[in-house]
Every structure is written in C-alpha cells, then in structure tokens.
Symmetry: none
Subunit: 207 residues, 2 copies
C-alpha cells in the first residue's frame, strides 16, 4: 500500500496533537500534516495532494464543512471525515449532503475514530451512533408540544417571575397561569416541588 497524505485540522492545538498521535499509532502508512486553522490547511492543499482530510467542524471563520467543500473542488476524489461535538441529526445529515464521508463525535473513544477511518478508506460512509437520548433531551423534544401561551409562561418562570407576576404581565388570572403551569408540567413529565422552576432555569437558553 502506498503512503497516504492525510490532512488534519483542529483549532485546539492540544486536541490536534492527540489526534496526530492516535492516528499515527494506528495507521503507519499515513503521512500526516496537521494544521491549527482551515486557512493554513487549505493553503497547504494547494501544493500537496491529499488523499484523506480529517477536520474539526467548529472553527473560527471557516468551518469544517466549508473547508471540506473547498477541498473537494480541488481534489474531487478526496476522502473526508468531520469531527464534532454536535450530536444533532440535522447537522449530520447536512454533512452527508455536502459529500462528507465520515462523521465522528469528538468525545467518542479512540476506537470509533479508527473504525471510521478504516470504513471511509474502504469507500464506505461512517456515522457515529446517535447518543442514547436521556431524560433531559426527551424533555427538550417535548418543548415543541407546548403552545404559544405555555411557552410565554415558561419564559416568565425562567425570568424569575412568580405566577402572580406572570398573570399581571399577561392580564389574566393567577388561576390561569397555575393551570398553564400544570399543563406544561404534564407535557414535560415534570413532578414534584418546583420541578418546573428548576427546568425553566436550567433550560433558560432554549426559551
């Protein structure tokens, strides 16, 4: 097997170093060139033909998908793997649409990345398994089932308002707000003292 030129890009220098180690340990026939920015990586790709590119998704200025799209224009046959913190399905799907061959979650174990590289080299696609959905994620899914008014109430709660204050804000009765609270709690499967308040504070960023 010939030597393969491998392009490695991550803006976190320490992570990048770990990445080089992990990959070189496993694939002795790789000639790895690592870069801490997509711009430097792309510059290098202008003068050196790469067979495989492995890039972080979230980087300043140019993101991983843009970089890989550019690289594909230069070398249409280049194989590509994206590394990311995101486990969202739509980003993954978007990655595949953009001609990415592999998609690996950053906090997965080393084995996962190795398998991904092997599969991609064989010509297959590889996508990290979706994380098991936990309780919290389920609840966030349920957020979509809330009505406009319920979301308004939840927003009020997350803004440290009492039911009485929210009632005054919305010009309705305290009892109406209490009913909304109950309905929200039922939809989100929340039980017990102040569980709704806790949820609202912890998910303030979503509201």
């Amino acid at each position: 097997m010939d030597k393969l030129n491998v392009l490695l890009v991550d803006d976190h220098p320490i992570f990048l170093k770990g990445l080089v180690e992990v990959i070189q340990d496993e694939f002795h026939d790789f000639v790895i060139h690592s870069f801490s920015s997509p711009e430097l990586a792309f510059d290098s790709a202008k003068s050196l033909k790469y067979n495989l590119a492995i890039s972080d998704l979230d980087m300043p200025k140019m993101n991983g998908i843009s970089l890989i799209t550019e690289l594909k224009i230069l070398y249409p046959e280049i194989l590509t793997i994206l590394l990311t913190m995101h486990k969202e399905q739509d980003i993954m799907r978007s990655a595949l649409v953009n001609g990415i061959d592999g998609y690996v979650l950053k906090d997965d174990v080393v084995d996962e990345l190795v398998i991904a590289i092997e599969e991609v080299l064989k010509g297959n696609k590889y996508i990290s398994e979706l994380e098991v959905i936990n309780e919290q994620d389920e609840q966030i899914e349920e957020l979509k089932s809330l009505t406009k008014t319920e979301l308004l109430v939840l927003k009020g709660i997350s803004d440290n308002k009492t039911s009485k204050e929210i009632a005054n804000d919305l010009f309705v009765s305290l009892k109406t707000i209490e009913n909304h609270r109950n309905n929200i709690s039922r939809k989100l499967r929340l039980k017990g003292s102040n569980s709704l308040l806790k949820f609202a504070i912890n998910n303030k960023n979503l509201l």
Copy 2:
C-alpha cells in the same frame, strides 16, 4: 530534581492523549498517569501520592473542582491546575476559592499550559486571561461567610433536593434545615419566593 507524579484527567480520550504528549515533551521528569474519568483518577490517588494534578473542569458526574477538592483532602500539598472551555468569571473565582493553583483555557496554545505548569511548580498561581477577573458580584463573595453546614444545605438545594430530603440526608430535623435556609438567605441577601433555589441552581458550579 526528583521525578514528579502527575495526575491527568480528561473525559475526552483524544484530548487526553494530546495532553500527555504535550506535557511529557516539555517535562521529562514527570511520571504522568492519565485517566478518562475523575472516579478512576481518584481511585488511583488513594494508592499513589501525586505532586501535581491537572484536570478538565467539565466532566460527567464528578466535576474537576470536586475532584481537586477531594484530592486536596488526601494530599493538602498537591498542586492543581484546571483546564476548561469556560472563561466565565464566576467559575474562575470559584476555582480560586477552592484552592486551585492554575486555571488554563482549553483552546489556548500549548505554550500557555506549559507556562502555567512552570509557574505553579514555582509556587505561584496562574490564571488564563487575568484581566477578566475583577471583584464584583457581592453575593458570590458572601458565599465565603457561610458555615460548613450552610454550604452543605446549599449544595443539597442545588442538587434539586427539598428541605425534607436534605434533613433526612443530614439526619437532622426539617426545622433545622429551614432555619439554615433562612440564615443563608439573610447572609446572601436573598428575598422572595424560591430565591434561594434560584440562586443555588444558577451557582451550582460554585458549590
């Protein structure tokens, strides 16, 4: 100079590998033991005395501050450096309150970590982006005026426990916990419905 036992903890295996490389490259007299979870790290610390501990802040279950607090109980003279994505002031302040010696942002360049280690070994404190830290937020300052038991109660509240549950945990009367809550609220100048709960959740990372 004697060999130094260094404990390294990060739940991202690839980053952890990079970390080992970077540190070993620079400090040849370090005997580095790396772990992917605070629990494993702490178990190891029970049978081996470490001189320096470098840990990620955000990890599942036990966080970096808790780990380092526990390690300090075992080895009061241990030097400690926290790695984190967060540049928030309150977390940094909390780190300092908890006796952490160094605080380095994960995406900083390698040199920064090396400098941090060198400074901490000299007995100095090292904090990334010093200028961010300034004394504001009186409430968080007032945290220092809380007694041990009051902090325990506050921790319980931030862990979503009711007064009744905390009372059971600590084998005291519900009334005692209610009194502690009142004393805490007075010290932190908190007033109104569930203000203590809101404070506890919002400052969970400090407790």
